[in-house]
């Protein structure tokens, strides 16, 4: 049996450290752009739905996608207020004030809150992008069954939806451990 080490709790930080910036980029840059594209498609369908094979389905998918993407922007912004680093604390408090007010303890609680809320924003963003890909795919369905190239374009979009689904699955199970995953016994953890 290995001797247990003394608990030495480190600061709570995003892992990897660039994760917060990456996720913020998707919520503040990518999501608004995709929302704009989705709403443009809504306008096109409303103006002339005779050009689409299944306009009602496309409209449903694209509107749901827009709602999800806008929600991801809002939930992401709500989550972001809980993420700050020592530099921010130093800008508002002296070291002594921060210690007396228990700001670092609060920062840990806020970080945990950010991680929870940001996860929801991530899930909603991913749902929005998936729905948008499916909407584009249905928009590409040709009215004429002989339009082979357009069927190919639609098929390619559907294939990209599958790749996206696979990639999302990968991201949601991503581990950064250096050794392969295998259950460990409790007596020593070697």
């Amino acid at each position: 049996m290995t001797q247990n080490l003394k608990p030495e709790i480190g600061p709570r930080v995003p892992y990897p450290l660039g994760y917060a910036e990456a996720t913020s980029f998707t919520q503040t840059m990518t999501a608004p752009l995709l929302t704009g594209a989705a709403l443009t498609l809504v306008g096109v369908i409303i103006v002339d739905d005779t050009k689409f094979r299944v306009p009602e389905l496309t409209l449903l998918l694209v509107v749901t996608s827009s709602i999800a993407l806008i929600a991801s922007i809002q939930i992401g912004a709500d989550a972001r207020k809980y993420l700050y680093n020592r530099e921010t604390i130093a800008a508002w408090y002296t070291e002594d004030e921060a210690k007396r007010a228990g700001i670092l303890v609060r920062r840990t609680k806020h970080f945990i809150e950010w991680r929870k809320r940001n996860r929801l924003a991530v899930v909603v963003f991913n749902a929005g992008t998936m729905l948008l890909i499916l909407a584009v795919s249905t928009a590409l369905f040709p009215r004429d069954n002989h339009a082979v190239v357009r069927w190919i374009a639609s098929g390619l979009t559907l294939a990209s939806a599958l790749v996206e689904a696979w990639w999302l699955h990968h991201l949601f199970h991503e581990r950064f451990d250096e050794t392969p995953e295998k259950p460990k016994p409790l007596d020593g953890g070697t």
Binding site: P7, G18, Y19, A22, T23, F25, R115, D177, P183, K184
Partner: protein
């Protein structure tokens, strides 16, 4: 890393690190809630077998903790949602139930973030 994350489609939910300063163990940020912690505490109250079974189901045993890491006996939900003081309290609780998880004789150092 940022470039890698934003050029590929999708956005990951993030990762939970083991709170022990030197431990490299990670776990995907799943949808944890306080109910998961309640279930863990219920399992601790039932006894060692139930606690071990809960650890196995929670995925705690798949985390690649460093040898002797005191947090290897806690489920990922506890590592994800508990603040520093609550984590230390959880260590005491699990140490009272599982012999292999008793905390070290040395007193815990103040959490780095609360110092």
């Amino acid at each position: 890393m940022v470039l890698y994350d934003v050029t590929l489609p999708g956005n990951g939910p993030g990762t939970i690190e083991c709170p022990q300063l030197q431990c490299p163990a990670t776990f995907p940020n799943a949808r944890f809630s306080r109910r998961d912690i309640d279930k863990w505490e219920e399992a601790l109250q039932v006894g060692p077998e139930a606690a071990k079974a809960h650890l196995e189901i929670s995925g705690a045993l798949t985390m690649q903790h460093m040898p002797g890491c005191p947090f290897r006996c806690l489920p990922p939900a506890v590592l994800a949602l508990c603040g520093n003081e609550e984590l230390l309290a959880q260590l005491k609780k699990v140490g009272a139930v599982l012999d292999d998880c008793q905390p070290s004789g040395d007193s815990a150092s103040g959490p780095a973030d609360d110092a």
